[in-house]
Protein backbone atom coordinates (compact mmCIF):
# COMPACT_ATOMS: atom_id res chain seq x y z
CA UNK A 1 0.00 0.00 0.00
CA UNK A 2 1.43 3.33 -1.00
CA UNK A 3 1.60 6.14 1.52
CA UNK A 4 -1.13 8.06 -0.28
CA UNK A 5 -3.66 5.23 0.03
CA UNK A 6 -3.12 4.55 3.74
CA UNK A 7 -6.10 5.70 5.80
CA UNK A 8 -5.27 8.77 7.82
CA UNK A 9 -6.76 9.04 11.30
CA UNK A 10 -7.03 12.73 11.78
CA UNK A 11 -8.93 14.01 14.82
CA UNK A 12 -12.54 14.82 14.12
CA UNK A 13 -13.78 18.30 14.81
CA UNK A 14 -15.32 19.45 17.08
CA UNK A 15 -13.55 17.08 19.43
CA UNK A 16 -15.26 17.95 22.68
CA UNK A 17 -12.73 16.31 25.01
CA UNK A 18 -9.88 18.53 23.84
CA UNK A 19 -11.93 21.54 22.91
CA UNK A 20 -11.59 24.34 25.44
CA UNK A 21 -15.06 25.46 26.56
CA UNK A 22 -15.81 29.04 25.62
CA UNK A 23 -18.62 31.32 26.72
CA UNK A 24 -20.24 31.12 23.30
CA UNK A 25 -20.22 27.33 23.09
CA UNK A 26 -21.27 26.87 26.74
CA UNK A 27 -24.24 29.22 26.33
CA UNK A 28 -25.18 27.48 23.10
CA UNK A 29 -25.48 24.05 24.70
CA UNK A 30 -27.08 25.57 27.83
CA UNK A 31 -29.81 26.98 25.58
CA UNK A 32 -30.65 23.43 24.51
CA UNK A 33 -30.36 21.98 28.00
CA UNK A 34 -32.61 24.64 29.52
CA UNK A 35 -35.02 24.21 26.61
CA UNK A 36 -35.36 20.51 27.40
CA UNK A 37 -35.80 21.27 31.11
CA UNK A 38 -38.49 23.84 30.33
CA UNK A 39 -40.32 21.41 28.04
CA UNK A 40 -40.60 19.05 31.02
CA UNK A 41 -41.50 22.06 33.20
CA UNK A 42 -44.45 23.05 31.02
CA UNK A 43 -45.85 19.52 31.37
CA UNK A 44 -45.56 19.96 35.13
CA UNK A 45 -47.35 23.29 34.81
CA UNK A 46 -50.21 21.63 32.90
CA UNK A 47 -50.37 18.96 35.62
CA UNK A 48 -50.54 21.68 38.29
CA UNK A 49 -53.58 23.25 36.61
CA UNK A 50 -55.30 19.87 36.36
CA UNK A 51 -54.67 19.24 40.08
CA UNK A 52 -56.01 22.70 40.90
CA UNK A 53 -59.30 21.77 39.20
CA UNK A 54 -59.56 18.66 41.41
CA UNK A 55 -60.67 18.40 45.04
CA UNK A 56 -58.77 20.26 47.82
CA UNK A 57 -57.56 16.92 49.18
CA UNK A 58 -56.02 15.90 45.86
CA UNK A 59 -54.48 19.34 45.41
CA UNK A 60 -52.94 19.17 48.89
CA UNK A 61 -50.87 16.14 47.80
CA UNK A 62 -49.49 18.13 44.89
CA UNK A 63 -48.95 21.29 46.90
CA UNK A 64 -47.07 19.38 49.62
CA UNK A 65 -44.32 18.73 47.11
CA UNK A 66 -44.32 22.29 45.73
CA UNK A 67 -43.80 23.83 49.17
CA UNK A 68 -41.14 21.32 50.25
CA UNK A 69 -37.45 22.25 50.12
CA UNK A 70 -37.05 20.11 46.99
CA UNK A 71 -40.08 21.76 45.38
CA UNK A 72 -38.69 25.24 46.10
CA UNK A 73 -35.34 24.21 44.68
CA UNK A 74 -37.06 22.96 41.53
CA UNK A 75 -38.94 26.25 41.24
CA UNK A 76 -35.72 28.24 41.65
CA UNK A 77 -33.98 26.06 39.05
CA UNK A 78 -36.94 26.26 36.71
CA UNK A 79 -37.02 30.05 37.02
CA UNK A 80 -33.33 30.29 36.22
CA UNK A 81 -33.78 28.01 33.17
CA UNK A 82 -36.71 30.15 32.10
CA UNK A 83 -34.92 33.48 32.42
CA UNK A 84 -31.79 32.13 30.79
CA UNK A 85 -33.70 30.64 27.86
CA UNK A 86 -35.73 33.85 27.59
CA UNK A 87 -32.67 36.15 27.53
CA UNK A 88 -30.57 33.92 25.33
CA UNK A 89 -33.59 33.42 23.08
CA UNK A 90 -33.83 37.17 22.58
CA UNK A 91 -30.10 37.11 21.76
CA UNK A 92 -30.87 34.45 19.14
CA UNK A 93 -33.70 36.56 17.70
CA UNK A 94 -31.23 39.44 17.22
CA UNK A 95 -28.90 37.06 15.39
CA UNK A 96 -31.82 35.88 13.26
CA UNK A 97 -32.44 39.51 12.32
CA UNK A 98 -28.77 39.84 11.35
CA UNK A 99 -27.35 41.77 14.33
CA UNK A 100 -24.56 41.07 16.82
CA UNK A 101 -22.44 38.57 14.91
CA UNK A 102 -19.06 40.23 15.61
CA UNK A 103 -17.04 38.18 18.09
CA UNK A 104 -16.84 41.12 20.50
CA UNK A 105 -20.63 41.59 20.34
CA UNK A 106 -21.33 37.87 20.75
CA UNK A 107 -19.26 37.84 23.96
CA UNK A 108 -20.79 41.04 25.27
CA UNK A 109 -24.36 39.83 24.68
CA UNK A 110 -23.38 36.47 26.20
CA UNK A 111 -22.24 38.05 29.46
CA UNK A 112 -25.33 40.27 29.51
CA UNK A 113 -27.48 37.12 29.23
CA UNK A 114 -25.63 35.50 32.16
CA UNK A 115 -25.94 38.62 34.32
CA UNK A 116 -29.56 39.42 33.51
CA UNK A 117 -30.82 35.86 33.94
CA UNK A 118 -29.08 35.50 37.32
CA UNK A 119 -30.40 38.88 38.47
CA UNK A 120 -33.92 38.20 37.17
CA UNK A 121 -34.06 34.92 39.08
CA UNK A 122 -33.25 36.74 42.33
CA UNK A 123 -35.53 39.69 41.58
CA UNK A 124 -38.49 37.45 40.67
CA UNK A 125 -38.20 35.82 44.10
CA UNK A 126 -38.02 39.16 45.88
CA UNK A 127 -40.94 40.64 43.93
CA UNK A 128 -43.00 37.45 44.10
CA UNK A 129 -42.51 36.97 47.84
CA UNK A 130 -43.12 40.61 48.66
CA UNK A 131 -46.39 40.61 46.68
CA UNK A 132 -47.52 37.27 48.10
Amino acid sequence: MSAANRPVHRPLSPHLQVYRPQLTSVLSILHRATGIALSVGVLYLATWVVYASASPKTYALFQAFNTSILGRLFLAGWLFCMFFHLCNGIRHLFWDAGYGFELKDAYLSGWIVVGVSAAATVVSWIVGLSLA
Binding site: G35, S39, L93, S124, L131
Partner: protein, 127 residues
Amino acid sequence: MEDRRTPLARARGLGSARDGLHHWWVQRLTAVALIPLVAWFAVSLVMLSGADHMAVRAWIGSPVVMVLLILTIVIGLHHGQLGMQVVIEDYVHGDGWKLALIVAIRFIAFFFGLAAVVAILRIGFGG
Protein backbone atom coordinates in the same frame (compact mmCIF):
# COMPACT_ATOMS: atom_id res chain seq x y z
CA MET B 1 -43.83 32.95 5.13
CA GLU B 2 -44.58 30.07 2.80
CA ASP B 3 -41.69 30.71 0.46
CA ARG B 4 -38.82 33.09 1.08
CA ARG B 5 -36.61 31.95 -1.78
CA THR B 6 -35.47 34.47 -4.36
CA PRO B 7 -37.32 34.39 -7.70
CA LEU B 8 -34.16 32.98 -9.34
CA ALA B 9 -33.87 30.17 -6.78
CA ARG B 10 -37.56 29.35 -7.29
CA ALA B 11 -37.15 29.27 -11.06
CA ARG B 12 -34.19 26.92 -10.72
CA GLY B 13 -36.10 24.75 -8.25
CA LEU B 14 -33.51 25.23 -5.51
CA GLY B 15 -34.13 25.02 -1.77
CA SER B 16 -35.78 22.62 0.61
CA ALA B 17 -38.57 20.45 -0.71
CA ARG B 18 -39.97 20.07 2.80
CA ASP B 19 -41.24 22.36 5.54
CA GLY B 20 -38.09 23.52 7.32
CA LEU B 21 -38.81 27.20 6.84
CA HIS B 22 -42.28 26.91 8.31
CA HIS B 23 -40.87 25.11 11.37
CA TRP B 24 -38.20 27.79 11.76
CA TRP B 25 -40.71 30.61 11.44
CA VAL B 26 -43.25 29.18 13.89
CA GLN B 27 -40.46 28.57 16.41
CA ARG B 28 -39.57 32.29 16.26
CA LEU B 29 -43.21 33.41 16.25
CA THR B 30 -43.96 31.39 19.40
CA ALA B 31 -40.68 32.63 20.95
CA VAL B 32 -41.70 36.28 20.53
CA ALA B 33 -45.19 35.57 21.87
CA LEU B 34 -43.70 33.87 24.94
CA ILE B 35 -41.47 36.83 25.94
CA PRO B 36 -44.23 38.84 27.70
CA LEU B 37 -46.25 35.77 28.73
CA VAL B 38 -43.37 34.07 30.46
CA ALA B 39 -42.23 37.24 32.26
CA TRP B 40 -45.75 37.65 33.66
CA PHE B 41 -45.99 34.00 34.55
CA ALA B 42 -42.64 33.82 36.36
CA VAL B 43 -43.61 36.51 38.87
CA SER B 44 -47.10 35.00 39.31
CA LEU B 45 -45.62 31.60 40.00
CA VAL B 46 -43.41 32.84 42.83
CA MET B 47 -46.37 34.75 44.30
CA LEU B 48 -48.48 31.60 44.23
CA SER B 49 -45.84 29.17 45.43
CA GLY B 50 -47.19 29.26 49.00
CA ALA B 51 -50.87 29.83 48.13
CA ASP B 52 -53.61 27.41 49.20
CA HIS B 53 -56.13 25.67 46.94
CA MET B 54 -58.79 28.39 47.16
CA ALA B 55 -56.35 31.17 46.33
CA VAL B 56 -54.91 29.25 43.37
CA ARG B 57 -58.39 28.53 41.99
CA ALA B 58 -59.45 32.16 42.43
CA TRP B 59 -56.33 33.26 40.56
CA ILE B 60 -56.70 30.76 37.69
CA GLY B 61 -60.44 31.48 37.39
CA SER B 62 -60.21 35.25 36.89
CA PRO B 63 -60.91 36.12 33.23
CA VAL B 64 -57.60 37.78 32.37
CA VAL B 65 -55.54 35.03 34.01
CA MET B 66 -57.58 32.35 32.24
CA VAL B 67 -56.74 33.80 28.85
CA LEU B 68 -53.07 34.48 29.64
CA LEU B 69 -52.58 31.09 31.27
CA ILE B 70 -54.12 29.20 28.35
CA LEU B 71 -51.91 31.19 25.97
CA THR B 72 -48.80 30.51 28.07
CA ILE B 73 -49.40 26.77 28.32
CA VAL B 74 -50.53 26.19 24.72
CA ILE B 75 -47.87 28.37 23.09
CA GLY B 76 -45.26 27.05 25.55
CA LEU B 77 -46.12 23.46 24.66
CA HIS B 78 -46.02 24.24 20.96
CA HIS B 79 -42.65 25.99 21.24
CA GLY B 80 -41.29 23.16 23.39
CA GLN B 81 -42.49 20.54 20.96
CA LEU B 82 -40.79 22.31 18.04
CA GLY B 83 -37.56 22.60 20.02
CA MET B 84 -37.64 18.98 21.17
CA GLN B 85 -38.14 17.92 17.55
CA VAL B 86 -34.89 19.65 16.60
CA VAL B 87 -33.05 18.02 19.51
CA ILE B 88 -34.39 14.59 18.47
CA GLU B 89 -33.48 15.18 14.82
CA ASP B 90 -29.94 16.14 15.85
CA TYR B 91 -29.16 13.41 18.36
CA VAL B 92 -31.33 10.38 17.49
CA HIS B 93 -29.92 8.68 14.43
CA GLY B 94 -32.17 5.69 13.70
CA ASP B 95 -35.02 6.72 11.41
CA GLY B 96 -37.55 4.55 13.24
CA TRP B 97 -36.70 5.90 16.68
CA LYS B 98 -36.57 9.44 15.33
CA LEU B 99 -40.06 9.22 13.88
CA ALA B 100 -41.47 7.41 16.93
CA LEU B 101 -40.11 10.06 19.32
CA ILE B 102 -41.32 12.98 17.22
CA VAL B 103 -44.80 11.45 17.05
CA ALA B 104 -44.68 10.77 20.81
CA ILE B 105 -43.81 14.37 21.75
CA ARG B 106 -46.61 15.62 19.50
CA PHE B 107 -49.13 13.36 21.24
CA ILE B 108 -47.82 14.26 24.70
CA ALA B 109 -47.97 17.99 23.95
CA PHE B 110 -51.50 17.71 22.58
CA PHE B 111 -52.73 15.60 25.50
CA PHE B 112 -51.28 17.86 28.21
CA GLY B 113 -52.43 20.98 26.38
CA LEU B 114 -56.01 19.82 26.08
CA ALA B 115 -56.05 18.57 29.69
CA ALA B 116 -54.79 21.96 30.93
CA VAL B 117 -57.30 23.95 28.86
CA VAL B 118 -60.20 21.79 30.07
CA ALA B 119 -59.02 22.18 33.68
CA ILE B 120 -58.70 25.97 33.39
CA LEU B 121 -62.15 26.33 31.81
CA ARG B 122 -63.60 24.05 34.50
CA ILE B 123 -62.17 26.24 37.24
CA GLY B 124 -63.21 29.46 35.49
CA PHE B 125 -66.77 28.36 34.76
CA GLY B 126 -67.22 26.69 38.13
CA GLY B 127 -67.57 23.07 36.97
